[in-house]
């Protein structure tokens, strides 16, 4: 096939192009690689990497991990999310099994706050509305959930003092009954109690459970009338 004029001209122009040595060309390229532009170091790590080309055309070696990076990150995130959902549920169920009375914190509140907070928390405490409290404490666990309470009534006229502590079934509360303890029954409520008489004073310690709430009661009186109190509270 004959060469066209255009082809001849292209050949002549191509031969006129001056080709620099490799070292000169590389120095120009390297300068551009090491140059810092706008505070950003221009790197060309890919130019410094070596690749092993395999016969099947695939490119393995240092470039290969990139293929697994995204799936690995996704897998780790997925596991982390699963743990973040499952662990708190598991731990919460373990933590809520039992707690000690000593582990609770308390705050002193007014009688109206005492009644309203118990009502709001739907805490099934016995009806204490007939009493004028000298002290009301509410007890809560570390998460702020109401777990119990304490009230005191000092009646100088009747010469009686009532100290009543109550708590949720998951709270372990200790009390000590004297060896001469008895049981008083009213409305399916069994009250274990012991009374000692010393210095003209009757001191009663009692324990019972009512509607799953535990009660520890200490009662001081100049007369032996604690069963009247039990009827008033649990009747």
């Amino acid at each position: 096939m004959e060469e066209l004029d255009v082809e001849k001209r292209l050949k002549e122009d191509a031969q006129k192009v001056e080709m620099k040595d490799f070292s000169e060309r590389w120095s120009v390229i390297k300068a551009k690689i090491d140059n810092v532009e706008d505070g950003v170091c221009v790197e060309a790590p890919c130019k410094q990497k070596s690749y092993a080309a395999y016969g099947d055309g695939s490119s393995k070696g240092r470039n290969a991990p990139k293929k697994f990076l995204l799936p690995s990150v996704i897998a780790v995130l997925f596991i982390a999310i699963c743990l973040a959902i499952v662990l708190p549920l598991t731990l919460r169920s373990r933590e809520s099994l039992f707690m000690d009375w000593d582990d609770l914190s308390y705050r002193t509140v007014s009688q109206s706050e005492f009644n309203s907070e118990l009502k709001e928390a739907e805490f099934p405490v016995i009806d204490l509305s007939g009493y004028d409290f000298d002290l009301c404490n509410l007890y809560q666990d570390k998460s702020g959930k109401l777990q119990g309470g304490e009230v005191e009534v000092f009646d100088e006229h009747e010469e009686t003092i009532l100290k009543l502590v109550f708590c949720a079934p998951i709270v372990r509360i200790s009390y000590k009954l004297e060896d001469n303890s008895e049981t008083f029954k009213i409305n399916n409520v069994n009250i274990k109690y012991a009374t000692k008489f010393e210095n003209d004073l009757y001191t009663t310690t009692a324990f019972t459970e009512c509607d799953n709430i535990k009660y520890v009661l200490t009662y001081y009186s100049s007369s032996d009338n604690v069963t009247n109190l039990f009827e008033a509270l649990f009747g």
Binding site: D103, L104, T108, L135, E152, E159, N199, L201, Y220
Partner: protein, 270 residues
């Protein structure tokens, strides 16, 4: 990447250095002055005493003392102890806790009210006056004394503290038998938590804490055990204390090497 690693290392080094410094400060404070802090972890212990005869001598201040306590994980044991002493003397010095009666009488019996708003306010005021938590956690011995003096003076009374040693049981007995509560400063302590007594063998259970603490003593119980030849085989001395801890309330503090008393002072407010 290298910079991030270096930054992490530097931060770790700073944190470790801070922890070490804190530890040394607390260690120095343990020597001069000790700070009294409150509760901590406990270890259970027990001992068995076999005997043929046992005698008990005991005494408690009439009406005892109030049973106030610390909130969980607080360092206010000295403040609570001070409030206990103030609650006790409020019977005789009614303006110590203004507009508040800390007890009720039935016949000759005195029953104290539990910790409420008014008594908690005393604890909080003492926290400031005693300089609690200003040098390490807790209160120093001098901080306790200065705070009590200042609080009592604020309310128009005079506070005096008489040294009872660490602990001279004869001086302690004299103090409580004179109806004076005793502030006991402990470097560590053991509390009696129960016993089983068959009449010839007693198993005594105690719980020991290694945390410095302050309690108010208001009585004592001394058990003396004899063998069949009427010789003393053991003596166990307990002090009735308002522990300031919800776990124990009013309890027996064990002596006989089970508690390390740094100092004790009998308190008078008038």
């Amino acid at each position: 990447m290298k910079k991030k690693a270096l930054t992490c290392l530097a931060a770790t080094a700073v944190l470790m250095g801070a922890n070490m410094c804190t530890g040394f400060t607390f260690a120095c404070e343990k020597i001069v002055p000790a700070t009294f802090c409150g509760s901590g972890t406990v270890t259970e212990q027990s001992e068995t005493i076999n005997y043929a005869k046992k005698e008990t001598v005991e005494y408690k201040i009439k009406g005892e003392v109030p049973d106030y306590n610390m909130h969980v994980n607080e360092t206010s044991c000295a403040n609570v102890a001070g409030a206990v002493a103030i609650g006790y003397y409020d019977r005789m010095c009614e303006e110590l806790i203004p507009n508040y009666k800390a007890y009720m009488k039935i016949g000759s019996n005195i029953i104290y009210k539990s910790q409420g708003t008014e008594s908690q306010a005393v604890v909080e005021r003492l926290h400031t006056l005693m300089g609690t938590d200003t040098i390490g956690a807790g209160t120093t011995f001098n901080g306790f004394q200065n705070g009590m003096k200042a609080y009592v003076a604020e309310h128009g009374y005079t506070y005096t503290a008489q040294d009872v040693g660490s602990i001279n049981i004869a001086n302690y007995k004299t103090a409580v038998e004179s109806e004076k509560p005793v502030a006991i400063f402990l470097l560590n302590y053991s509390i009696w938590v129960g016993n089983t007594d068959s009449g010839s063998s007693e198993v005594i259970k105690t719980e020991r804490s290694s945390v410095a603490h302050v309690v108010i003593g208001y009585g004592y119980k001394i058990d003396t055990y004899y063998n069949s030849s009427n010789q003393v085989v053991a003596t166990r001395t307990y002090l009735n204390v308002a522990s300031g801890l919800i776990t124990y309330g009013k309890a027996y503090l064990c002596l006989d090497g089970k508690s390390n008393v740094e100092r004790a002072t009998a308190i008078t407010i008038q």
